[in-house]
Symmetry: C2
Subunit: 182 residues, 2 copies
């Protein structure tokens, strides 16, 4: 690991590479808008403690004191981020999927309970997908090759495809469960 920092630190640091200075509050909003789909939504308190740590390491530069302090990535920060991206392996995704977990244990409840859960999941997927569509739309105009939001837009497309596919699979699973005898 580049510096022994947790991945979330680099993730937050990375959100500062899009050209602007952010307060902790704004950084949290950006994380909620984008990062939460592929990583996590860190708690407010964690955003502040991470920013403090990044500043200690000289990877971000605070501007102003007390209320309204904004942070920009420093040259050292940019270098640390690049090194981390190049020299360390990403590792395989970890999925914490409570719906799949409960489906796995479907034999301990009745079928209706399982089917209802899957239906709810489809609704939740549709909501999340709508939120991601909005994010993706917000990138339009700066998402061409070489433009600043190129990669975020690729990831958004990836996420949308994932949601779409999951909706389809879960729909199939519901049908398979319902086609079984009583």
């Amino acid at each position: 690991m580049g510096q022994g920092l947790p991945v979330t630190s680099y993730a937050l640091l990375g959100l500062l590479t899009f050209g602007d200075a952010l307060t902790g509050y704004e950084l949290k909003q950006r994380a909620d808008a984008t990062l939460r789909f592929y990583w996590v939504s860190p708690a407010m308190s964690q955003v502040y403690s991470e920013l403090a740590r990044l500043a200690e390491h000289g990877l971000v530069t605070p501007s102003g004191e007390g209320r309204g302090t904004t942070y920009t990535i420093s040259d050292a920060g940019r270098e640390a981020l690049t090194t981390w991206m190049r020299e360390s392996a990403p590792g395989f995704p970890v999925l914490k999927h409570p719906v799949a977990l409960r489906l796995l244990l479907g034999h301990v409840v009745d079928r209706e309970t399982t089917v209802a859960m899957l239906r709810d999941h489809v609704l939740a997927l549709e909501k999340e997908e709508a939120a991601l569509v909005e994010v993706r739309d917000g990138l339009r105009g700066h998402d061409g090759p070489g433009e600043i939001f190129r990669h975020p837009s690729l990831v958004a497309d990836w996420g949308l495809d994932y949601f779409e596919n999951e909706r389809r699979i879960v729909g199939d699973l519901i049908r398979r469960l319902e086609d079984e005898g009583p």
Copy 2:
């Protein structure tokens, strides 16, 4: 939360509903074989401490002392699990996807680095998929409607579909990146 226990406790408890008595060691293996695809692979040490906690709550029944102790789910355990499944909401999946995260930040490294990472991810997906295929094959013969491995097989199919789809998407992303000018 049914009892205030973490989800992983219920997950491990759930792995004991398939009709057999397991040692901590065997439970860990079962978790590695199935749970790790949709939830987590708890560390050995955690398996033992979770089993101790479940036993304290009377949700599992240990048989034998010291080395070779096996655990079975108790009636109370079965009831706690069912209640948890019925009364609590699953919540939305959380994905920790380091590859997507790094793709999001693709503008801080050169394209070759990103493409190489995506190619490696495809290879990793193929390996994981192969492992899941073996798991799924092991369920054959007991995976019909009403049979004990019915739900595990549904989840395995879900996982296989997910892997297949992700391979396809990532392949598309690689092509999109390569089609861009230098």
